[in-house]
């Protein structure tokens, strides 16, 4: 339930959010709020506009219409200080293949102005199990290792809002368990998490709010406690099938 005391402040507010790519709508007039500390999972079929929504929330893509406010600051307005409050894990890792794991994190640490950077980099590399590979170049890493390092990059500056786009992509079972542990820590650490995924079981595991998006619209938005895991797949398929 969202009844915890921490879930009172608004972390993300979207008003009339729209994105069109030429004549094609990706996101259509979304209005929603995400409370601080909430873990929200967004499901949806391919082309539903989930990744576009996440990119707009991150400030990576300008909305065609509407606006986003993250932790009280309007995205895209004036200075870029609000970017320090957001962490993004995308399909792409945002990592430089010719830099080592440690150099990548130091580079991003400098951009985000992370204090005591050396200690923080070590902490994050240990957290994702890559401290032993810190001096190896990223282009020698497996996809799963790169994804773990990308997670470390995402959380390096301790963002208040974490946006995850298919975070389990390329992870082996061990790494997926590690990621689950990190996500649990985020939830328990009162971070606001928005996760986009196709994987119903992984998406439902940690969420306390579940949204289904299709054709750029939210077709359902429910408290996790109202969802029966066993029936959700059928309900999801019916809803998505009816919306597209």
């Amino acid at each position: 339930m969202w009844g915890a005391a921490r879930l009172t402040e608004v972390a993300i507010e979207a008003r009339g959010l729209e994105k069109w790519f030429g004549p094609f709508p990706a996101v259509r007039g979304l209005d929603f709020t995400v409370l601080s500390g909430q873990f929200i999972t967004i499901f949806g079929p391919n082309g539903a506009g989930k990744s576009t929504l996440l990119r707009m929330l991150a400030g990576a893509v300008r909305p065609t219409g509407g606006e986003v406010v993250v932790v009280g600051e309007k995205i895209g307005a004036g200075e870029h200080a609000w970017r320090r409050r957001i962490g993004v894990l995308s399909h792409q890792t945002f990592l430089y293949g010719h830099l080592t794991a440690e150099e990548n994190l130091h580079f991003y640490g400098k951009l985000y102005g992370v204090s005591q950077r050396g200690e923080r980099v070590r902490e994050m590399l240990e957290r994702v199990g890559l401290w032993g590979r810190r001096s190896d170049r990223v282009n020698g890493f497996s996809r799963g290792m790169q994804q773990r390092l990308a997670l470390a990059r995402t959380l390096l500056h301790d963002p208040e809002v974490v946006l995850l786009d298919e975070p389990y992509t390329g992870l082996d079972p061990h790494a997926a368990t590690m990621l689950r542990g990190v996500l649990e820590q985020l939830r328990d650490g009162e971070r606001t998490v928005v996760m986009v995924t196709h994987n119903l079981s992984q998406g439902l595991e940690l969420a306390d709010r579940v949204v289904v998006q299709a054709a750029g619209r939210w077709i359902s938005d429910e408290d996790r406690s109202e969802i029966e895991v066993g029936e959700f797949e059928k309900v999801y398929t019916d809803r998505v099938g009816g919306a597209i």
Partner: protein, 224 residues
Amino acid sequence: MTFVRQVLTVASKDLVLELRSRERLVSMLTFALLIAVVFSFALDPTVRSRDIAGAMIWITIFFAGMLGLGRSFGLEREQDTLTGVLLAPIDRGAFYLGKVTANLVLLLIVDIVLVPVYGLFFQIDLWGQIGGLAVVVGLASAGFVALGTLFSAMAAHSRLGESLLPILLLPLLIPVVFFSARSTQLLITGRPISDVAGSIRVLLAFDLIFLIVCTMVFESVVEE
């Protein structure tokens, strides 16, 4: 982090990447040296090479430079690191100037290798004019890189990619080509630096205009 430190962070990252991959510098140097060799064979022996060496040097430098600039943002497309950087609270102008700094270092290395090679091939004594040539080469390279870095970012966002770069860049580079080739020509024919002071001032003015305008518009170029 201060603006200057942001610039240096981006520049040093690009230079470390280049040091490890050697993608750009090797192709720029190889291309520039090959062009110099081709010119040395293609020229009519009755033509006084020092009369046209200035133009040849700058044509070679700018085309070799375009090879390197094309990859400047191309390397940010792998794993979409450009988006990764733009998601950070970095001043977009600092990001642009960091790229310019790294690109300028690479182009100056090409200049330092190429200009003496032309001196050797065309039997021109450059030592007597080394100070003046260094000023002209530095200013012209800075102007080229300032404009080229912006257009490299535009080309990286385009479906045409790196092939768009020369189409965008060359027309606007004509003044820089003209004044750099002209002043280089005068210097290698033995004229004193005071004779090219006007051209140097024009090159400096172009550098400042390009740097200021490109820094201001860079954000609108890279933001989706």
